[in-house]
């Protein structure tokens, strides 16, 4: 039907066409927006959240997610009780307004204003001041500041803020996903396109190397790397990237072989274009459609692989974290502190969902005939 379609005023490439089709795909558009949102939140979020990702809050281990600040009145009450008891006084009553706690006490002996030290000694309070001591010295009123902390996602076993940790972990997971995905794509495209385009014996040898690498058990390979080089972040890229480019290379090689037989490649040969020129101007640009699709499906694969490695304890090291690490810790605490599993899992799955939707949308947009 090409003849019936009116030719638009400006030249429009296949990419522009695909882009227009992609924009009509609601799921893909929403997913892209969501992914962008997650990326921005993970990058900027940790700078804005009240608690640092590695600070340990000893008083608040495994506190449940809550929108109201910690400490809660139930946590303040015993703390005050403790402090007052240590000062051999009796608690009459206390009230909290904002971050200020007012405590009323009585005692059988006259009260010195140094008793505020007992209050200060508690981790929870600071700057305690005796505002009013009765004339007989047997009753007094003190005020102290309570440091209020917000743990919207709760805290983990050691008392670290889960919100900040989830966002930090998101940085790591997305970075690994993108970088290792990118590494895999670059190696895969170059290797696969070369093998497919040159063909013959070179192709045979190059693809047998891929077969050999395929036959290495992945986990064994990673454990070996970790044993030799110790655990570190860069190693993760290497390990994941080194395994995933194999798929890419195979896909690209197949594509390159079919593109090589296209008449426009023959035409370029007849023009005297060099092999490198053909590879650069004809083979690779025409490969990029399937590569773009595969890349969006590769990123979630990398994130899952990293999660899996982290789950086994071979991944990112504390205090750094990734979604996989958090989920693995959450899984251990599932009965008593289910939020430790819930939040990272929601972030991970929704991100993977979005990536898969984008991949699907891209495939439809780039290959409209295959729908």
């Amino acid at each position: 039907m090409t003849d019936a379609v009116q030719i638009p005023a400006v030249g429009r490439s296949l990419w522009a066409d695909a882009w227009a089709r992609l924009r009509t795909n609601k799921a893909a558009t929403i997913s892209s927006a969501y992914l962008l949102f997650i990326a921005v939140v993970c990058i900027i979020g940790p700078m804005l959240t009240p608690n640092d990702f590695s600070t340990i809050h000893q008083n608040y281990t495994r506190v449940a997610p809550s929108l109201s600040p910690y400490p809660t009145p139930e946590m303040i009450e015993p703390a005050i009780g403790d402090a007052i008891q240590k000062g051999r006084m009796d608690l009459v009553g206390w009230e909290q307004s904002g971050s200020t706690v007012t405590i009323r006490v009585t005692s059988k002996k006259p009260i010195d204003d140094r008793v505020t030290r007992y209050v200060d000694r508690s981790d929870m309070f600071e700057g305690a001041v005796a505002t009013e001591i009765a004339a007989d010295g047997l009753s007094a009123t003190m005020t102290a500041e309570v440091e209020q902390k917000y743990f919207i996602f709760g805290t983990d076993n050691t008392g670290r803020d889960l919100l900040t940790r989830t966002l930090i972990a998101g940085r790591v997971s997305l970075a690994i996903g993108l970088l290792a995905g990118f590494v895999a794509v670059v190696i895969g495209v170059v290797y696969g396109a070369t093998a497919g385009f040159i063909g013959g014996r070179t192709d045979e040898v190059m693809m047998r190397i891929v077969d050999i690498l395929y036959s290495l058990p992945f986990i064994f390979f990673v454990i070996m790397l970790v044993v030799f080089f110790g655990r570190n972040f860069v190693l993760m890229f290497l390990a994941v990237g080194a395994v995933l480019w194999l798929d890419m290379a195979r896909i690209v090689r197949g594509q390159a072989i079919s593109i090589k037989r296209q008449e426009y490649v023959q035409a370029a040969e007849a023009l005297g274009v060099t092999r490198a020129g053909i590879l650069r101007r004809h083979i690779v640009p025409n490969l990029l459609g399937p590569v773009a699709i595969y890349m969006t499906l590769l990123v979630p694969q990398v994130i899952i692989l990293e999660s899996f490695l982290s789950y086994l304890g071979l991944g990112v090291q504390e205090p750094m974290s990734s979604w996989g690490v958090l989920i693995s810790q959450g899984a251990k605490n599932m009965p008593s502190a289910n939020w430790l599993l819930f939040f990272p899992a929601v972030f991970l799955t929704s991100t993977l969902f979005a990536l898969n939707f984008i991949g699907d949308g891209l495939r439809d947009a780039l290959d409209p005939k295959d729908r």
Partner: protein
């Protein structure tokens, strides 16, 4: 309107695309009488296929059809699928252009034939098998019983098309819709299939709707013709009337589109541009790591030719006769043995590197205007790619100007040079391919079926363009085609090839009017029979 068996009334087909809706068929009304052959003629994009697809409920998911397609009192458009399936495939059947892809490669011919017979006629396996066998015999497939167990890839293109016809006829249809059933076939086979279909139609008495762009076919097979253009019927009438007295100017243009004229032979003193002696091309099949034992296939066998400046040698033969292989071998795009000299210089032994500077003088234009242009490059980039190789020094601006000039030379609007191939029509793309070849000012251009994929009218324009370019630039052409009418109009020397060998050669009139070899005779009979 005696006995109209299928009546289309105000059929409209629209497609939703990202550019908005496209009207492919704009309110067509026509009828098919029982037992007649109606040809629907029009260039590609005229909506002739989409109209019948709409009636059969076979539009793609973004297409919508409105109107009435009345078959014996049932409106087929908008009919639920279950009801539609009792009619299509049984009472109205279809055969398609591409015999390679219309059969499922995973099932044997037999099972593909038996299955629809069992479904529609409610026969047992034995009876259905017998019927399938009968059908294969009817379409004159040799040794039908052996063929039943064959898979599609084991049959030739013509045989596959016969199987498709057998499938279409197995349930005694009232109407057979044939959508360009012979376009993908060689001329000799095309003639056989047309004879077969005409014979079957006369014997079985069904109506036939023949969709085609080839007026020769129409003249041979149809009683009535319906000419379509841009989604509308421009003219309907009896075949003889239409050909004798076309009313609409478009119909006249279609009839006149047959390439005509002759090329004057070049003087014997004209310098020889290309001289090839005893060219052999051998392909090795099989082999490889753990592969089957190697087998040699000789695609070109001891062929010699000598091309003078300004001369056009037409190479004729069916697919598989080695004509494209020969052309690629003399351009050194394929390894071959034999002596090739270009302007007196031996190029047979040159390396790829040494060959590169010579490439600008030896160009090629290929058959498929959809496959020969890279879809990711603009027309301008495609046209100037050769300049990057042969004149690397010139600036981007100069290249752009050269692209504009080359496009003008092939009569394309230079303002279109920033568009991508998919935005052009088939004829325009072929012009871009020609511009890419001539921008380097070559001495020799191989034209590998440059007009076969195009409509007749466009074909004529391209032939005229190629002629003009030849006179203007003193080009020599190697013109490969299976279309004898075009070859006759273009060349001053003809080589007929079969199975890699030269069967006959001489001036067009000598070869085509007085064929000596049996093969050339058959080719001629098939191409010019009316």
């Amino acid at each position: 309107m005696q006995d109209a068996i299928l009546t289309l009334k105000d059929v409209r087909v629209t497609f939703d695309t990202i550019d908005g809706t496209v009207d492919a068929v704009k309110g067509v009304s026509l009828h098919v009488n029982a037992g007649e052959t109606l040809a629907i003629v029009g260039e590609s994009g005229s909506g002739k296929s989409q109209m019948m697809m709409a009636a059969m409920g076979l539009l793609t998911s973004n297409g919508r059809a409105t109107g009435v397609a009345d078959y014996r009192g049932t409106n087929l458009i908008g009919l639920p699928k279950a009801q539609l399936n009792t009619i299509r495939g049984a009472k109205i059947t279809m055969i398609f252009q591409e015999p390679m892809t219309s059969l499922d490669p995973l099932y044997s011919i037999g099972s593909q034939l038996v299955e629809p017979i069992r479904r529609h006629q409610k026969l047992g396996h034995k009876a259905a098998y017998a019927r399938a066998l009968e059908m294969l015999a009817l379409v004159k497939i040799p040794e039908p019983e052996d063929r039943m167990t064959c898979y599609p890839h084991e049959l030739s293109g013509g045989q596959r098309q016969r199987v498709m016809i057998a499938m279409a006829l197995a349930n005694d249809p009232d109407i057979l819709i044939a959508d360009e059933p012979t376009t993908a076939l060689d001329v000799t086979i095309q003639a056989e299939i047309l004879d077969l279909m005409a014979g079957l139609q006369a014997r079985l008495g069904m109506a036939m709707v023949f969709i085609t762009h080839d007026l020769n076919v129409v003249r041979r097979i149809a009683q009535r013709v319906c000419v379509m253009r841009k989604g509308e019927v421009v003219e309907t009438g009896f075949t003889a009337d239409i050909f004798a007295n076309p009313q609409h100017e478009y119909t006249r243009a279609l009839i006149d589109a047959e390439p005509s004229g002759r090329k004057d032979p070049v003087s014997v003193k004209a310098p020889v541009v290309l001289d090839a002696r005893k060219i052999n091309v051998t392909f090795t099949l099989g082999g490889g790591f753990l592969g089957r034992p190697k087998r040699d296939l000789r695609a070109v066998d001891g062929l010699s030719l000598s091309l003078q400046q300004g001369q056009t040698i037409g190479i004729v033969g069916e697919s598989g006769s080695g004509k494209s292989t020969l052309a690629r071998a003399v351009l050194r795009l394929l390894p071959s043995t034999g002596a090739i000299s270009f302007e007196g210089r031996d190029i047979a032994a040159l390396t790829r590197e040494a060959m590169r500077p010579l490439r600008r003088h030896l160009q090629i234009v290929m058959q498929d205007p959809f496959g020969s242009l890279s879809p990711r490059m603009t027309a301008g980039q495609i046209v100037t790619e050769g300049l990057l190789v042969h004149e690397p020094g010139i600036s981007a601006r100069e290249r752009d100007a050269r692209a504009a000039r080359a496009l003008e030379e092939v009569q394309l609007d230079p303002a279109l040079r920033n568009r991508y191939p998919h935005e052009f029509s088939g004829g325009q793309r072929q012009r871009i391919a020609i511009a890419r070849a001539i921008i380097l000012k070559p001495r020799l251009v191989v034209l590998d079926e440059p007009t076969s994929a195009l409509d007749r009218q466009v074909q004529k324009q391209i032939v005229d363009l190629l002629r003009d370019l030849q006179t203007a630039n003193g080009l020599s052409y190697l013109f490969i085609s299976h279309d004898l009418a075009v070859v006759r109009a273009m060349s001053d020397h003809i080589i007929v090839m079969k199975d890699g060998r030269m069967v006959e050669q001489g001036t067009p009139d000598a070869v085509l009017d007085n064929p000596r070899e049996a093969y050339t005779k058959a080719l001629m009979a098939a191409a010019f029979a009316t």
